[in-house]
């Protein structure tokens, strides 16, 4: 019967696939993005309707952690940024300037750190659980915590309102 013959080949194919998947050396490959940066978006209230917010692009952004080298230097056209949090301490503070002429703000993030063994190929990454985030209010109006757990770079964790 043709169906039975095809089933036999399907069965053999599955066996081969199972054997191959069981045999790969997974210490050699890291098949995922393991960066756990705080993913930040910029928003401002829609003129005439302040209850609604819209994504915005800032003119010339400069960011660096206090007493550290710059992360972003006078970069134009940013609608958001990804900030690495301090792996050694439970607080990170950043100098944040939205425009070269604007007054700078200080962004502060307080969090708990949790090392996490992702896989044989990726090793250990640091997960963060943000307790609170705040800012001085020169240009930044408020800081919204959108997602507390930072385990991936793919979701928006913090929204800065202007």
């Amino acid at each position: 019967m043709p169906t039975a013959r095809y089933m036999k080949y399907l069965f053999l194919f599955l066996c081969c696939m199972a054997a191959l998947s069981a045999c790969d050396d997974d210490t050699k490959v890291c098949d995922q993005d393991t960066r756990t940066f705080a993913n930040i978006r910029f928003r401002y209230p829609v003129p005439g309707n302040p209850s609604q917010n819209k994504d915005t692009v800032l003119p010339k952004v400069t960011v660096f952690a206090l007493n550290k080298d710059s992360l972003i230097r006078k970069r134009t056209g940013l609608s958001g940024m990804q900030l690495p949090l301090d792996l050694h301490n439970d607080t990170s503070r950043f100098y944040f300037q939205s425009d070269s002429t604007a007054k700078a703000d200080t962004l502060t993030f307080a969090y708990k750190r949790q090392p996490h063994f992702v896989s044989a190929g990726c090793g250990v990454v640091m997960y963060f659980n943000i307790d609170s985030a705040w800012s001085t209010k020169h240009v930044v109006k408020s800081v919204q915590l959108n997602a507390k757990n930072i385990t991936t770079i793919n979701e928006i964790h913090i929204i800065l309102h202007f």
């Binding site: 089933m7 599955l14 998947s21 997974d26 210490t27 949090l85 792996l87 090793g123 997960y127």
Partner: protein
């Protein structure tokens, strides 16, 4: 991606199992017609304990050098088509690279039943096409003596995980076959799908690289295969039904 592959395998595995049952039922119909003419015969055939080893565990070390495994397979015929089956596994895992060192070892045992899907027509024929289910239990320990989280901006973070002892439980379904190539000497292969019951091990912050007898520790569902050589120690006799044409 790997989770998706695993799910596809699981789905296909179940599909094949269902088709096998369906074909078995389909095949039963014409045999029913022949029932009147076929003579049902019960004969006593030698049975006993079959002891073997899984050769794929030895080969695995060449593909995954950080793993050293050994598995002893046991099965004993209980009734005509029912076999009690058990696997006893040992694993040692050791890996070292620039990001982390890992050490682990442990033992596992799985116990269950295999059902022979083949109807016998010749008393001395000892081929076996089986489907089975087992419960597995592992006791193991592992540690990360040192690891490093790379941080290009803030500097690398270095830490360690002390040795800890864990247990794991799983359910395993399998299909496979065993063929008697010499008297009492068998070759066989099977594929298994294992479902981890202690999910918090795979979902925790430090999942083990390998759970002995189960497979990758960060997966809740793993596919595996065995290639066994085994020897039957005839110890008792079992009554076997045979339908002679």
């Amino acid at each position: 991606m790997k989770f998706t592959l695993s799910s596809i395998f699981s789905a296909c595995f179940l599909l094949i199992a269902c088709c096998a049952v369906a074909q078995d039922k389909g095949a039963a119909a014409p045999q029913d017609k022949k029932k009147d003419s076929a003579k049902a015969l019960v004969v006593e055939v030698p049975a006993g304990l079959r002891i073997g080893t899984d050769l794929s565990r030895i080969a695995m070390h060449f593909f995954q050098p950080y793993r050293t495994d050994a598995t002893i397979t046991l099965d004993a015929r209980y009734r005509d088509r029912i076999f009690f089956a058990s696997d006893i596994s040992w694993n040692r895992t050791s890996h070292s690279d620039t990001l982390y060192n890992y050490k682990g070892n442990g033992m596992a045992i799985s116990l269950g039943v295999n059902y022979n899907l083949l109807k016998k027509q010749v008393p001395k024929e000892n081929f076996m096409l089986f489907a089975g289910m087992k419960y597995g239990f592992a006791l193991f320990n592992y540690e990360l003596p040192n690891y490093e989280v790379p941080g290009s901006y803030w500097g690398d973070f270095r830490g360690s995980l002390a040795s800890s002892t864990k247990t794991a439980h799983w359910i395993e379904v399998s299909v496979g076959m065993k063929v008697e190539v010499l008297k009492n000497f068998y070759l066989g292969w099977s594929i298994q799908d294992r479902l981890l019951l202690t999910k918090k091990i795979s979902k925790g912050d430090y999942p083990p690289m390998v759970i002995p007898g189960f497979g990758k520790g960060n997966k809740g569902n793993v596919f595996d295969m065995q290639y066994t050589v085994s020897y039957l120690l005839p110890m008792w006799k079992v009554k076997q039904k045979m339908s002679l044409p």
